[in-house]
Symmetry: C2
Subunit: 392 residues, 2 copies
DNA sequence: GCAATTAGTTTAGATTGTAAACTAATTACA
DNA sequence: TGTAATTAGTTTACAATCTAAACTAATTGC
């Protein structure tokens, strides 16, 4: 919401109204100038002037006329989502996922590259080469390549510096600037859970508080407050896996005892299952057959899941919580048990106003979220200053 | 940050710059027009014009000249904190605390009224009569009485409606509008912990995330994000007392087992102490003599306190946590044990960047916070539209 | 008492928004 | 077929607010 500086000048007024109109156009499939006039409160004259700028800047297209019962037909306007392409990356423990999207975050091409050498030098090289190749396969567009978003399996601070990514053994790496230097486009790094949250939040953008829980071998939350990723003072917010939920509990890899993720992570569930002789493969398993002992394990697991969720609900009073966990999604009895457990234990308004859902996001959602961040930053830049309008 | 509507007009531009200059004047003891010009980036002409408006509106005073080595002396400007008075109330279980403050939140008069009949009718009557009396004792000021803030011992929703205040047995009471109707001034109700947080946050206003923990018979958190109270989707955020920290724990009044406040509230500590034969009176006790058994009790208590704090730190990555608990403040060994415990258990950057402090707030801090809210809303109104400038 | 310096005001001009009048395009119907 | 009614979008005259630069005001040093 706050613009370049705190003070307001004419230019800021224009930028704010440009941004307002562009956002309206983006969030509605098609819209006419009169509708923009009605929904923004700006006069028809101002709307016409700003739309003319946006069309000149190739950010908006005229589609031809729409329908009314009587009178002159409106000209349908739409966002020129093909005016640029963005890249989204997810760095995993054994591979790098790349997607190229349009400015709406729609995937144009994707590719997953397996790598084993996670030195920054090699990662940078692989990304540069792969992106160049992928982009060359896309049709040329007016603004070409507008930026890269990068989902990192670790802790990223508010300046985009990767503080600690244990699996790939990075410490205090200013990856954003490195990658930006060799690609020539802006790069935005953030934690995987935060990028996932961005992709999820597209489904409920109006929420004051929404949480996306990413459950794998650990648990992390992407927290969205007033439509923006909440990162805390330094960028380390959302480390919910290490909430203590059990006194004298199991030793966690973080050194504490009784962390939530020692009980509620996929790793924890898989260990409990395999300890009781149920075999679970990591990926692409069918749902686990619900025998009585398995049901008991799921029931206990749902209880632990509930404990952390109750903390989250009490603390944030979120309108939505999305759970992103392939294992839970595959065994949907867990979410039913979880809902029962929450209903039994939590008797507050906060629970009734919180919709708990399994993620509907596609496989490469974190990369899509990353690309959306890159596209959004581009759109902000375009709103805040005009590109190259040679004439006039 | 966002003003009346989303679109920007000339008036909005003016209001934004008015507000900017007024805030600068408020946060600096004294400031001249040139200094405002330098710190806001607005031209001297604009600063002069806006300052002239503010002076005409009695919100700013000229104090006479300041010092420079050479040249014309600047005219010192200051916020006219005496231009209006605000009231802050805290409704307790057996009394109502009233303070009257200037627009800086400085207490002019305060009074505590004991009452037993907590019917809304009686409470409204008592408040009306007492405020009238207190205000009559203050010198008349230009804007006279600008508003009331009200700290409530219970859950208040985002619209200011008191959903549930168990001690005084209120349910879904639109107290703000009722009190506003009989006093003729705007009323803002919020939870006690949130009002406390406002009073505390004055000490660190630049923090992206700060938490004020109010520990009494229960535990609640006032959460400040980007300088504003964070209330969640409906207004119920901050119910940290009911985070589960113990599996199969003690039954809580909320119906759950193992809530944080069953272990870390003052009530819990006092019960443990009295169960071991240590007598503790509720108020104005001297520090408890630290015998070996007492030390053990404090140590265990600090451990439980730490469990919830670790959740808060992991989740919010706050720059500050303030603990407001008379019992802990009186027995400062607890905070030392707590710090040790946190150092031993939590090995993250989030801990090192979080300053944990005991509240330094005065006894009636929640009422002061409430009055600050009322004064702040008045200042916003004054920034956003000009009062009665008959001439011109 | 005059040059140098700093504070604050005045004035002319630019940008952007508004309101209201205008043009453009289309349907209904005589 | 042509004209009134209707709706979409543009043009024009004007107002608000900011800026830059010239100006006035007040003070110190010599």
């Amino acid at each position: 919401m706050d613009l370049l500086s705190k003070r307001f000048l004419h230019t800021h007024m224009r930028f704010a109204n440009r941004r307002l109109i562009l956002e309206k156009i983006i969030e509605s499939e098609e819209i006419s100038r009169v509708e923009l006039h009605a929904s923004t409160g700006l006069t028809k004259a101002t709307v016409s002037a700003i739309v003319a700028e946006l069309i000149e800047d190739k950010l908006v297209l005229e589609l031809g006329t729409g329908n009314t019962l009587r009178g002159r037909k409106p000209i349908r306007l739409k966002f020129a989502e093909h005016a640029g392409i963005a890249a989204g990356l997810t760095i995993e423990t054994d591979e790098i996922e790349c997607v190229i999207t349009d400015l709406y975050g729609k995937v144009l091409i994707s590719e997953t590259v397996e790598i084993s050498d996670f030195s920054t030098k090699n990662v940078l090289k692989v990304i540069r080469v792969r992106l160049k190749e992928l982009i060359s396969q896309c049709a040329p567009v007016h603004y070409s390549f507008v930026g890269i978003g990068c989902a990192i399996p670790g802790i990223v601070d508010n300046k985009g510096i990767i503080i600690h990514a244990p699996y790939i053994e990075w410490q205090k790496v200013d990856f954003s600037n490195m990658l930006s230097a060799i690609t020539g486009v802006p790069v935005f790094c953030d934690n995987v859970a935060n990028m996932l949250a961005v992709a999820e939040i597209m489904h409920h953008p109006e929420e004051k508080a929404a949480i996306c829980l990413r459950i794998r071998s650990g648990i992390r939350a992407g927290i969205i407050i007033n439509g923006e990723i909440f990162t805390g003072g330094d960028g380390f917010a959302g480390e919910v896996g290490h909430m203590p939920v059990e006194a004298n509990g199991v030793l966690c890899r973080c050194g504490q005892y009784g962390c939530w993720e020692t009980r509620a992570s996929e790793l924890a569930l898989m260990k409990t299952l395999s300890d009781s002789g149920v075999t679970v493969h990591k990926k692409n398993d069918p749902p686990i057959a619900v025998t009585e002992p398995v049901r008991k394990i799921f029931y206990d697991y749902a209880g632990w899941l509930a404990s952390g969720l109750i903390s989250l609900i009490n603390m944030f009073n979120p309108g939505h919580i999305t759970i992103n966990s392939p294992l839970i999604s595959r065994n949907d009895i867990i979410i039913r048990l979880l809902n029962e457990e929450l209903q039994n234990r939590l008797h507050t308004q906060s629970l009734s106003s919180c919709r708990l859902e399994l993620s509907k996001a596609p496989k490469n959602a974190s990369s899509i979220g990353a690309a959306i961040i890159a596209a959004d930053k581009f759109i902000s830049r375009m709103s805040l200053s005009r590109h190259n309008h040679k004439d006039a």
